[in-house]
Amino acid sequence: MSIFVNKETRLVVQGITGKEGQFHTRQCIEYGTNVVAGVTPGKGGQTMDKVPVFNTVRSAVEATGANTSMIFVPPPFCADAIMEAADSGVALIIAITEGIPVLDMVKVKNFLATKTCRLIGPNCPGIITPGECKIGIMPGKIHLAGGPVGVISRSGTLTYEVVDQLTKLGIGQTTCIGIGGDPVNGTNFIDVLGAFENDPDTQAIVMVGEIGGNAEEEAAAYIKAHVTKPVVGFIAGLTAPPGRTMGHAGAIISGNSGTGQAKIEAMEQNGIRVCKNLGTIGETCKEFF
């Protein structure tokens, strides 16, 4: 078992003919992901490798039964692309694009509230169920299939680091999700924690947060109330200065809010085992799980 994506996933790639879109679509196909369609307006009727390209998401869904979308559309057009996917009946939308204006995302988020689909990202590495389906830009081969750990993170390469340490210690993963580093995003920690709690194959969870906002604090309270599985946590940015955006648009300490220390305290108070040194997070998991 896994959450959100598996062998049954039928993927459409929005922005499939762009440089990034092409490169990562090929990586996903190589991993075994079932890519059924691509979308690039104006290039309908062409193919990318053997994948048929459509002008609109709606026509791609009608022709191929795609149920999940991966988006590589540039920031000025990405909000449009997400809403197009949502309006075309795609159930799961994974937006990789970094740099979408926050007021665009605010509109998208309110628009999606009227739909039943799920958005992961934007500004995220994507989602992978090792051995079954990779949707995103993460390196597939650092993962180890079969569980028992579910990984959820606001970051990309930091997640790879964590997964790599787990794999090297022989600890497999059920599903790994990057929810993205933007201040306004789709799926949050709580959504994923709930899904991992309900997934029988996920027996433990690693949650990787960072400074900015209070999603980690809310997730910590949720874990105490609803999650029975052990959780190891990590927070990046303890040495970050206040008032500066640390690469991710959402990673900023504003006044007294969003500090790493407050997040660690909230996690520890709610029974999460917090690892303070990234170099030892694999070992911490081995010991705690």
Partner: protein, 385 residues
């Protein structure tokens, strides 16, 4: 992107938000000209830097005459202004705003911001104007009015009424306040602001409302659709190395420590800073070269970091994954030769062909130290300083 108060007030004027008469001045002479042009005293002479707390730091003065205005302008221009937001090193003042003094009846607080938790635009207002709003929020949260606006439908009359009545404004000022708030919302959305703050917003003795101060932050990600706002960027307010890094699309923040670091990905970059500190050293910077790092980006990053004289050692931490480490290692060697390194550089990389990559570094004859993993990298770099 931050902009100056005088620039924010020009935006306010364009959108019909009342502000005092006044203008920017770059010299004492210009300041006196502006003061004379205002026609009456007192005038206010305000330092223009990208930081709050200017009044407490001595950067805002009320002048009762032309002579006083000249004296204050002379004092403030060129001074190093230290406020709680500048850090102890302070900021040199190169610009002034000179504007007409106002007869203040009441000082209020008003701001608009993007609320990440509710994905809405939130209006915050308080009768406790002129105070540090974070202190007000902490000690007397009931004194803060918060109204969320749905971005899909925009600002409605009831939002304006909730804020206006909530502030206890006199009837005579309500209509003008509603227009002001509505215009501010339009300004916020049209210019992709991430924060707009007026502290204080004043009620004058004749029941008019006016923005006495103005702070506006623009969402950098939205600048592609606001080319004219790009002109408002003031490079004097930014660290020169940070400006150079931004020209190469590198996310760089200069800090106080002595271990430079180059990392791909923001989360891993923050965690690398933390691990340097854990190992007993201090990070000299935050440097994210992007998730898909290339040797060229690392070369630019290395050159910038080595310009920072505080830096005594460098840690390069690249988790490539898809990236081929042998190609990457060749790039690092080429970059190190080109830039010329005289201090220890610890390299930790992961990805395809990592063994081959390490071999290339080892035989390069350069001061490049291989690290097996992150823990090892932090220890080696801390030991190297």
């Amino acid at each position: 992107m931050k902009i100056h108060e005088y620039q924010a007030k020009e935006l306010f004027r364009t959108f019909g938000v009342p502000v005092p008469d006044g203008s920017v001045a770059f010299s004492v002479e210009e300041a006196v000209e502006v003061a004379k042009g205002l026609g009456s005293y007192p005038v206010v002479v305000k330092a223009q830097i990208h930081a709050g707390g200017r009044g407490k730091g001595g950067g805002v003065k009320l002048a009762a005459s032309e002579d006083e205005a000249m004296g204050f302008a002379d004092d403030i221009l060129g001074m190093t202004l230290v406020t709680h937001q500048t850090g102890p090193e302070g900021r040199v003042v190169n610009k002034l705003l000179v504007e007409a003094g106002q007869e203040i009846a009441t000082e209020l607080y008003l701001s608009l911001l993007v609320d990440r938790a509710t994905a809405g635009i939130v209006i915050m207002a308080s009768q406790e104007g002129g105070m540090d709003i974070e202190e007000v929020a902490a000690s007397t949260p009931e004194k803060i009015i918060k109204v969320r606006v749905d971005p899909l439908t925009g600002i409605q009359g009831y939002h304006l009424r909730e804020v206006g009545f909530g502030l206890g404004l006199p009837k005579a000022a309500l209509r003008e306040f509603s227009t002001l708030l509505k215009n501010l919302y339009t300004l916020f959305v049209k210019n992709d602001c991430s924060l707009l703050e007026i502290n204080p917003l004043i009620l004058t003795k004749d029941d008019r409302v006016m923005a006495l101060d103005a702070k506006v932050d623009i969402d950098s990600n939205a600048l592609f659709r606001h080319r004219s706002l790009l002109d408002l960027r003031d490079l004097d307010e930014e660290d020169p190395l940070e400006v150079e890094a931004s020209n190469f699309n590198l996310n760089y923040i200069n800090l106080d420590g002595n271990v430079g670091n180059i990392v791909n990905g923001a989360g891993l970059a923050m965690a690398t800073m933390d691990i340097i500190k854990n190992a007993g050293a201090e990070p000299a910077n935050f440097m994210d070269v992007g998730g898909g790092a290339t040797a060229e980006m690392v070369e630019n990053a290395l050159r910038i970091i080595l310009k920072d004289e505080k830096v005594k050692a460098v840690l390069i931490n690249i988790f490539g994954g898809i990236l081929r480490c042998d190609v990457f290692a060749e790039g690092i060697v080429a970059a190190a030769q080109k830039v010329g390194i005289t201090i220890p550089v610890v390299v930790r990389m992961e990805g395809t062909n990592v063994e081959k990559g390490k071999e290339i570094l080892a035989v390069s004859g350069l001061n490049l130290i291989n690290a097996v993993d992150l823990k090892d990298a932090a220890e080696k770099v801390a030991a190297a300083i």
